[in-house]
């Protein structure tokens, strides 16, 4: 069966166009899913309720804190949790949380 090459190229074009205009995944911020692992204890998007609010904190401060907790002897539970991520993942988490609007409920 001869395949109409024009049709397939049109299909290919339309796939490209439609996918290109589909926003959801293209706009997924890197680090969003990793940072969602903080939410069980710090609230959805780090906006509380829970332990200290993380939303909107400086990325460098968050990353520095996480690295310090990861490397120091274990005292509190976060010293363990920080050991569960690569440095690259901690950076993605810190970068993402820094972009979230604070809840306005911080103490």
């Amino acid at each position: 069966m001869p395949f109409p090459s024009k049709t397939i190229s049109l299909i290919a074009l339309s796939i490209g166009t439609v996918l290109g205009s589909t926003p959801a995944v293209a706009q997924v911020p890197p680090g969003r899913m990793l940072a969602s692992q903080c939410a069980q204890c710090h609230g959805t998007n780090g906006q509380g309720p829970g332990f200290e609010e993380l939303a909107g904190k400086s990325a460098n401060d968050l990353y520095g804190d996480l690295r310090e907790m990861k490397l120091r002897p274990v005292e509190g539970i976060m010293d363990r949790q920080a050991r569960g991520y690569t440095d690259q993942q901690l950076r993605l988490i810190a970068d993402y949380l820094s972009t979230v609007t604070p809840s306005g409920n911080a103490d």
Partner: protein
């Protein structure tokens, strides 16, 4: 391109068909129907995050009960430290805050080729069409050897009416009475949970001055399965003389009427309270997808998909590939964690994208040791190589990067207070 054979044409035609469906996707994500079965921590969280991250994806949560009663903190309801309302979580916020549709009913059948779920509701049977189906039914119990009546000898391992029954039996204990409990064979829901229960019941009996009353722990496993240092100290020191711990006690028969139990480590007749916590397996609707040798459903760790790519299993029912001896624990916290990975993967799949591989899952929990002190446990997993017992790579899965319990000096009142911060945050992240 002109020398395509017929098979390639059919594939291309399939692509064209899929393409025809895509313009719906392009208009503000009005694509995608996801049905979620089970409104515990896994099901509630996946429903919430699909809506939070998924634009206009349609999400229907199917759950037979009007509320979820959390197992988390439920051992403190047994001792009357907390009320049942404290651990009762509703579904209204999922509807009003996130636009999740609720269907009260029990999922009874799946038609995978037709992508249709049948639900038994109070008024009859309903069908729900889906693009992706997420099953989060929690645990079922393996058959008990002997004559077990959970009304007489409650498990209280699914919280609610069972919790009340056991609480009332504990409250009725007097001097010299014996509380006998079993620890199921691993894997089971909430690894620290049985040991925590032994501790808080012992603490309650002491506080009530029930002289000579005992807590007898019959563990099917060879050793304490979680927080061995904290619970080991609690059994041999904090609750010395009250808790008696017997490992390798696999249940051979039980008789609820006489509250008697025969195990491989010994027999106890006429316990005052017999808290038989049975061995566990995947919830029935999830088990339809096929179970492994331990009774749980193998899943892809990147998507939580089963052998059928559009049907996912998360939470206590699933078996995540992991390194030998480093299993992913079954807990509400972990179910919440897996739900987020699953939600992200489904949304990507609806957009024709592959799952993210840069993923991590986690569990953390606090366990009361007395009415004033608690311990904690933390475990973290990342996607990558997993290893057999000899350290050889056996495939890909969730590799446990870290695990640990509270250092001894942290088993204290600060941790007891933090327990409520953790629980309330987890409740809100899952249900609000």
């Amino acid at each position: 391109m002109s020398n395509f054979n017929r098979r390639q044409f059919l594939q291309a035609a399939g692509a064209a068909t899929a393409c025809a469906a895509l313009p719906r996707a392009a208009s503000a994500n009005t694509y995608g129907r996801v049905v979620v079965v089970g409104g515990g921590f896994g099901g509630a969280t996946v429903a919430k995050y699909l809506r939070l991250w998924g634009g206009d994806v349609q999400v229907t949560l199917v759950e037979p009960n009007p509320t979820h009663i959390a197992c988390i903190l439920s051992n403190l309801v047994l001792t009357s430290a907390l009320s049942m309302s404290r651990i009762t979580l509703g579904y209204s916020a999922l509807q009003t805050n996130h636009g999740v549709s609720l269907m009260q009913g029990r999922a009874i059948a799946i038609d995978p080729p037709g992508k249709r779920l049948t639900v038994q509701t109070p008024t009859g049977q309903e069908s729900l069409d889906y693009d992706h189906l997420v099953l989060a039914p929690g645990i079922d119990f393996a058959p008990a050897p002997g004559l077990w009546d959970p009304n007489l000898t409650p498990h209280a391992w699914q919280a609610g009416e069972q919790t009340t029954r056991l609480k009332n039996q504990i409250a009725a204990m007097r001097n010299g009475d014996r509380f006998v409990m079993t620890v199921p064979k691993s894997p089971y829901r909430c690894p620290p949970g049985p040991y925590e229960r032994a501790c808080v019941v012992a603490d309650y009996l002491k506080a009530k001055r029930r002289t000579g009353a005992k807590v007898i722990v019959l563990d099917a496993n060879p050793s304490i399965q979680a927080e061995p240092e904290a619970f080991g100290r609690a059994f041999s020191d904090t609750h010395r003389g009250v808790i008696q711990y017997f490992p390798n006690a696999q249940v051979q028969s039980i008789d609820s009427a006489s509250r008697s139990i025969v195990t491989s480590a010994g027999t106890i007749n006429n316990a005052t309270v017999l808290n038989y916590i049975p061995n566990q397996k995947a919830g029935a609707i999830a088990a339809l997808l096929g179970v492994n040798s331990t009774g749980f459903v193998p899943v892809n760790p990147l998507t939580y998909a089963t052998a059928i790519s559009t049907i996912h299993v998360i939470g206590d029912s699933c078996a995540v590939p992991a390194s030998d001896g480093k299993a992913v624990p079954k807990s509400g916290h972990m179910a919440n964690s897996e739900a987020k990975v699953c939600a992200d993967a489904i949304l990507r799949a609806l957009n024709g994208e592959a799952a993210d591989q840069n993923i991590a899952t986690s569990s953390a929990c606090y366990s009361p040791i007395t009415a004033r002190t608690a311990s904690w446990l933390s475990a973290n997993f990342i996607y990558g190589d997993i290893y057999d017992a000899n350290g050889k790579v056996k495939g890909k899965g969730m590799h446990r990067l870290d695990i640990g319990e509270a250092p001894g000096q942290r088993v204290n009142n600060d941790s007891y207070q933090e327990m409520f911060t953790w629980a309330d945050s987890l409740f809100a992240d899952s249900f609000v």
